[in-house]
């Protein structure tokens, strides 16, 4: 995948993930879009690479957050 396609894929994945954000999903999605737009003129491949890495990290964080939220809800309901 070219770098451009990777950025697009990352954006789509993040938007999809944020649809289920527990607090204000819309706000998060707009925030994510703004963050991408802010850096749209970046041309240095090395810097873009760093940003993709950061994006992937954020994606992992969100997934973990969802997993933890579900785990805690289940624990509270059935084990406490």
């Amino acid at each position: 995948m070219s770098q451009k396609n990777r950025v697009i894929a990352l954006y789509k994945n993040l938007q999809y993930l944020l649809k289920e954000y527990p607090a204000d999903a819309k706000k998060m999605q707009i925030g994510c879009k703004k963050a991408f737009l802010r850096n749209k003129d970046e041309t240095d491949p090395k810097k873009i690479e760093e940003m993709i890495e950061k994006g992937e990290y954020v994606k992992k964080e969100i997934e973990t957050l969802y997993a933890l939220k579900k785990y805690r809800a289940m624990k509270k309901r059935y084990y406490d």
Partner: protein, 253 residues
């Protein structure tokens, strides 16, 4: 070991506030977000992990429910399950469906597909029955290891750590067997967007209740479904003396 069968149930999403129908026959399901039962997610994750560790060759997911259950099956396929089986049943029949019927269906499918292991969630978060795994084991006359919090391969079978009151119990079981997943077995992976797209290519076999030949006559009747009692409001007491007298009045001292 070759094949693993996992059960997935479509339930109301865990984060949704449940509302009881005014006529007390059940809960409101129309227009409410549904997703896979969290304990079934854990079961799916465990089966997929087994496949990744080469302990299993194929993972099959089975869901019994209305047409929308296919979406739940897709999620399972996106998590790494190889193929799905959907037994379609809808409307009144589905509302009256009970764990015994489900377990008979699981038993039938497990035999038809020659499965060596069934992994189910320990209970669904909508009816909280906690019966399907146990009944399936009984229907097949297979050993059961319920409330599993760790599964390992042992010589000619599995070593399963079970969650019991106040501790853990380690048992070994031969295969074929039925396992039910407890909360701490693993952390289920997230069904990502690319994987969901890929899962659309995976096959889902559609069956009807008549195909599996299970009698779905209800064995019990739901009399009424009601909200839990509302917590009563507290009151603020001005000083210690009133507190003591109040406690005495209520018989706590």
């Amino acid at each position: 070991m070759s094949r693993v069968l996992v059960g997935v149930k479509r339930v109301i999403d865990y984060a949704v506030k449940i509302r009881v129908k005014p006529d007390k026959t059940g809960v409101v399901t129309e227009g409410v977000k549904h997703s896979m039962n969290p304990f079934d997610e854990i079961a799916v994750e465990e089966a997929v992990k087994m496949k990744e560790k080469k302990l299993a060759t194929e993972v099959i997911a089975l869901s019994v429910g209305p047409a929308q259950s296919q979406e739940t099956l897709r999620t399972a396929l996106a998590m790494g399950v190889d193929r799905g089986i959907h037994i379609e049943i809808s409307g009144k029949d589905y509302e009256m469906l009970q764990p015994l019927h489900i377990s008979k269906m699981f038993a039938k499918i497990a035999q038809d597909e020659k499965c060596d292991l069934i992994i189910l969630g320990k209970q669904a978060i909508d009816d909280d029955s906690n019966q399907t795994a146990q009944m399936t084991a009984a229907c097949l006359d297979w050993p059961q290891a319920v409330f599993a919090s760790a599964i390992e391969k042992a010589d000619n079978g599995l070593k399963v750590v079970r969650e019991i009151d106040g501790g853990l119990e380690t048992i070994t079981t031969k295969l074929p067997a039925v396992i039910s997943a407890d909360l701490r077995l693993n952390i289920p992976r997230y069904a990502t967007l690319p994987n969901i797209m890929k899962a659309k290519k995976k096959p889902i076999k559609k069956l009807t209740v008549a195909d599996v030949g299970v009698d779905i006559k209800p064995r019990y009747e739901v009399v009424s479904v009601e909200d839990p009692p509302v917590r009563q409001a507290g009151s603020i007491i001005p000083d210690v003396d009133t507190l003591v007298s109040k406690l005495k009045e209520l018989g706590h001292v």
